[in-house]
Symmetry: C2
Subunit: 329 residues, 2 copies
Amino acid sequence: MQNTRVVLASRPKGWVSEDNFRIEQAPLASPGEGEVLVKNLWLSLDPYMRGRMSDAKSYVKGVELGEVMVGQTVGEVLESKNPGFKPGDKVLTQLGWQLFGAAKDVVKLPDLNVPLSYYLGILGMPGMTAYFGLREIGQPKAGETLVVSAASGAVGSVVGQLAKLAGCRVVGVAGGAEKCGYVVRELGFDACVDYKAGRLYEDLKAACPRGVDVDFENVGGEILDTLLRLMNVGSRIVVCGLISEYNAAEPYGYRNMRSVLVNRVRVQGMIVFDWKERYGEGLKALGAELAQGRLKYRESVVEGIENAPKGLVALLKGGNFGKQLVRLG
Amino acid sequence: MQNTRVVLASRPKGWVSEDNFRIEQAPLASPGEGEVLVKNLWLSLDPYMRGRMSDAKSYVKGVELGEVMVGQTVGEVLESKNPGFKPGDKVLTQLGWQLFGAAKDVVKLPDLNVPLSYYLGILGMPGMTAYFGLREIGQPKAGETLVVSAASGAVGSVVGQLAKLAGCRVVGVAGGAEKCGYVVRELGFDACVDYKAGRLYEDLKAACPRGVDVDFENVGGEILDTLLRLMNVGSRIVVCGLISEYNAAEPYGYRNMRSVLVNRVRVQGMIVFDWKERYGEGLKALGAELAQGRLKYRESVVEGIENAPKGLVALLKGGNFGKQLVRLG
């Protein structure tokens, strides 16, 4: 048996392209003492991967040229040299873009009677991001207005539904009529603004007649700058992602900083790892909402490891619809 | 006896000029029931006044054309129709740019054995701004690095000295060698960067070898945007003022927002009125430091009401040195 893996071939300038990756065959790893050999079943594709392809300072070191692309996977243990695991166990790994791998730091998945892929989405990093970012920084109160960008995405869709459960007026921002329709009709948001329609300020203003109390920001750029004009006194902006900037050659120039002063806005950056000791709490809370059918969730699946580069390119351009996954198994 | 007052004659476009004001003679006000007639002794000039000259949305409504310019004063009661006050009492007022006025909402000053003008500065709004903004939002810890812009000013000088007392490395940003020298030699800051020297990033980086944990921002624009590049993980930015933007025809475009995400920075706007119920606490704390000689304080005095416009113009251009006052008495 051979391993197939995707390595970083070159660093993107601006938009990522499939040429930045190379698909390789390699011998199967042999698990060392304390390790397990895992067959990956699902690979998660996420916006943060754009940052790891660059060598600019970010949360953590970027991927080196020739190295396997980083990423979270769900897989099955084939062989174990760790007494905590046995063949057949389902695990969460950081093995990245490859079909097989050996590792020590894998996490055995609980059995919550949900599809395995959910542990990469609504019960994984995106779900935890939504749960803790909203709860700890956004702090929505009943009756307030919350706006979330990338509203149909893995994080945004959970943020908006949790805010609805908290009693907020919830307005999404998404690209195109199809995504906006889904956000309102399927996810139950009060409104959704299509940022591609070219009337961003007017449409947001109309959708938020009492201003904005919480902006859960996944996109940044013009969307964030426009929302700054609509923030209420004492409002909060959760800076969870700035996906519009990741591929831009030049950073966006935000012109409405004065609103932060005038309206005493609290703008705070976040990364989900800051709450890693509390994932159990998030898993329990989101698992309970899912079990009661109070959270809807959508996936966008690319078939096969060789299509992972195409999947990431589409994700970064907003071409996906729901949590982006690659089916490997 | 006649009153002399300064009214808003026209709204500035860009920089304020003396032509935006008109000096008028008017009959003396007569105090109504519950009011006192006050002879103003000192008028405070502050950057926020630029905002009140505009009709753009800000904290509060702007000054109407033909109205007396707003401002805080310290004065002496000449005549009282309020049982709480008697002639000779020293009071803090919002009577604005005029020699006399009648009002109900004046505050009797405690006698802390300090010059009366201090109640407009280190023991007034600027002092409270420094005290509460630093304590409640900046939250400096011993060993951290704090940067404060407009470091020789009424707010900045107090912020930096309080942060030194809290055990921080304190770096000021000020315009010109004279102010920088004062900040280091007289106020005891560890370093001061001259923003006019044209090496802002390099000089700040050298002055903050362990990065920046708190930025107490009074200026904004290029200074804030440059500091964003130097903020540490988990750092705080107190957005207290954006004086560089007040006179700009176009708002500044901030290009380093990504640092807020990557470093999980908390950026928060403030206005001192949010803590008005707690001024007593601030007065006590700052009064105690002053009494022990642990806070230095400098004033810049313009003589006579007719020179108030010139004083404000100079303040907004950074031409003052210390808390800007107009002596009226």
